[in-house]
């Protein structure tokens, strides 16, 4: 299968890509070829990433930033070298990237830094928050960009507000002026919805927030893996993404923060490697990013994520985006033709990524997922950690197919055929 990018460049060679992913060659459920359409939950890893991590562990593994022996030097270089590569990949400088265990920790880091600033020095004043202050999110957020703010409000007495979602799954910006006001301290929103596929207007929201002096945070978990991004260029203050969704290891995520903000922000998790001076009576802290990386870091995982962004760059993010666009259009068309199937999210493919969620009249998502699984098609069913969004869309759960660079059109066909089979099995078609 081939797709062409908007720029008309050489399309992505899916066959060659698939050869790099050993797991895609396996079969499931009595010999069915695996059709992996769950990359929105977690992606698979190419040999290049597996090998980079293993090579590091078999040759250089040691504690970073600590030892003075050769292994420690090599490890530190590998770890910091990965930070440089990842920074370049998202349009940031290395000092602006903090390694976390997953994206979820990144949201919590900012949320706790904000409540911690109550008992920190003057430099942290701009992060302080309390009664009367507001945090604005959206109704389409993943729980990771929702619950930490509820908890922050609970700790500080601030108020949580949110944008609604339109019937076709777009952000409802009609009340932007009453939502983003002088009371707003932070606007946190997803760059690309993990359920709807909707790509939100990052620059518009950043501009609006800046106009009232509010900070911005983008949940980039579903954008960084799937499209070219430029954090510095976008003007966003913070952004968060996960290694395991972009061909990298589990156990590593990234928080991007503009340098001057990270410099003023109090720490979250504290302990070794993030200190400047420690006495029993009190401690001072290292500059960022070390200030936010307490304890032994995710060393080999950073190395793996470095290899992942190299892999993605070599394929080309534009090309990946174009490829997924083609798959998404095919899925929207194929599913759209089936009576009784309703897409939850934009029906057209403009400003839309490759997560396609849907419901089937008369077939519960769990049952649809089970039938698909029995055919080798791996999708996700449930609320995908976006429960309020599902309530808003009037459905308890959806079936979600999500695409990545290693999927091809035959897999979209398998999905569509599987949905028809589920309808047949449950007697609704």
């Amino acid at each position: 299968m081939t797709t062409t990018t908007s720029a008309g460049s050489v399309p992505l060679d899916v066959g060659a890509v698939r050869g790099d992913f050993p797991i895609l060659a396996r079969t499931v459920r009595d010999g069915k070829p695996l059709v992996y359409l769950d990359s929105g939950a977690t992606s698979q890893r190419p040999l290049q990433v597996l090998d980079a991590e293993r090579r590091f562990l078999e040759t250089s593994n040691a504690a970073v930033h600590r030892g003075a022996h050769q292994l420690a030097e090599e490890s530190t270089d590998a770890y910091e070298g990965a930070r440089v590569r990842i920074a370049e990949f998202v349009g940031a400088t290395p000092g602006e990237l903090v390694f976390t265990k997953n994206a979820t920790e990144g949201f919590n880091l900012v949320a706790y830094a904000m409540s911690n600033s109550a008992t920190s020095g003057e430099e942290a004043e701009r992060f302080r928050i309390g009664p009367g202050d507001e945090i604005v999110i959206t109704e389409m957020e993943h729980h990771a960009n929702l619950v930490p703010w509820q908890q922050l409000c609970q700790r500080t007495g601030a108020t949580l507000r949110w944008f609604g979602v339109t019937d076709d799954g777009r952000l409802d910006l009609s009340d932007v002026d009453s939502l983003i006001t002088e009371r707003t301290k932070l606007v946190a929103f997803t760059h690309q919805s993990n359920v709807l596929g909707t790509v939100n207007p990052l620059e518009t929201l950043v501009r609006k927030a800046k106009s009232v002096g509010a900070l911005t945070l983008a949940d980039a978990c579903q954008s960084v893996p799937h499209m070219p991004v430029d954090f510095a260029g976008s003007g966003v203050d913070f952004a968060v993404f996960s290694g395991h969704k972009m061909l990298g290891p589990s156990g590593i995520g990234v928080l991007y923060g503009r340098r001057e903000l990270l410099e003023a922000m109090p720490p979250f998790i504290t302990g070794g490697s993030m200190i400047e001076l420690v006495r029993m009576e009190g401690s001072t802290f290292a500059p960022p990013p070390q200030r936010f990386e307490a304890g032994s870091p995710m060393t080999s995982q950073a190395v793996g994520l470095g290899a992942a962004v190299e892999y993605l760059s070599a394929v080309g993010m534009d090309r990946i985006a174009a490829h997924e666009h083609a798959l998404t259009e095919a899925a929207l068309a194929g599913l759209g033709e089936i009576d009784g199937v309703r897409i939850i999210g934009p029906a057209d493919s403009a400003d839309r990524g490759g997560a396609v969620s849907f419901v089937i009249d008369g077939v519960h998502p769990h049952d649809a997922g089970q039938v698909l699984d029995s055919l080798g098609v791996a999708v996700r069913v449930g609320h995908h950690c976006a429960w309020p969004l599902h309530r808003r869309m009037g459905v308890p759960a959806t079936v979600r197919a999500s695409f990545y660079l290693y999927n091809d059109l035959s897999e979209v066909d398998a999905l569509v055929a599987g949905v028809r089979e589920a309808q047949r099995f449950f007697g609704v078609a």
């Binding site: 769990h366 049952d367 089970q370 069913v381 449930g382 609320h383 599902h390 308890p396």
Partner: protein, 147 residues
């Protein structure tokens, strides 16, 4: 895993709907998929007089609730509890437990579900509500006696 019996109960559920009067009600939700059940128990002496329920969920959770009413209504609370234990054991047995058809009747059809860990919670949703409602009934009784 979709035995004919399960599909039958799914399409024609027994005892569905919420009925009055009742002794206790329980609301249970499956946090991973959002499926819900509201279930009421009404006791008749030491027997389960009625179980009524409503909810949204997959074929497995709906059929399981339907089978539940068949198995417990008209039985003593003790009998119902031991049926429940047998069912829970079957569901958590990963397909290794041989179900006793005398005890579980139609519920033996769920043996295949036990091989799919992600669906076990679906099959147990109604039963967890039943268990919780019984606990509440007892608590209510004790409180009633105390006051």
């Amino acid at each position: 895993m979709y035995q004919e019996i399960i599909l039958d109960h799914y399409k024609n559920p027994h005892g569905r709907g919420l009925r009055d009067p009742f002794d206790a009600e329980s609301f249970q939700v499956n946090p991973t998929c959002g499926d819900e059940v509201t279930l009421r128990v009404s006791l008749d002496g030491d027997k389960v007089g009625d179980v009524s329920y409503e909810g949204q969920g997959c074929s497995i959770s709906q059929a399981s609730a339907s089978v539940l009413t068949d198995l417990v209504v008209g039985h003593t609370v003790d009998e119902a509890m031991s049926t429940m234990e047998a069912f829970v054991e079957l569901m958590q047995g990963r397909g290794q437990v041989e179900p006793d058809e005398d005890v579980l009747e139609d519920a033996v059809a769920f043996a295949g579900v036990a091989k799919y860990p992600a669906r076990v919670k679906c099959a147990l949703l109604g039963w967890m509500a039943f268990k919780d409602a019984l606990t509440r009934t007892e608590a209510n009784r004790r409180n009633g006696e105390a006051s």
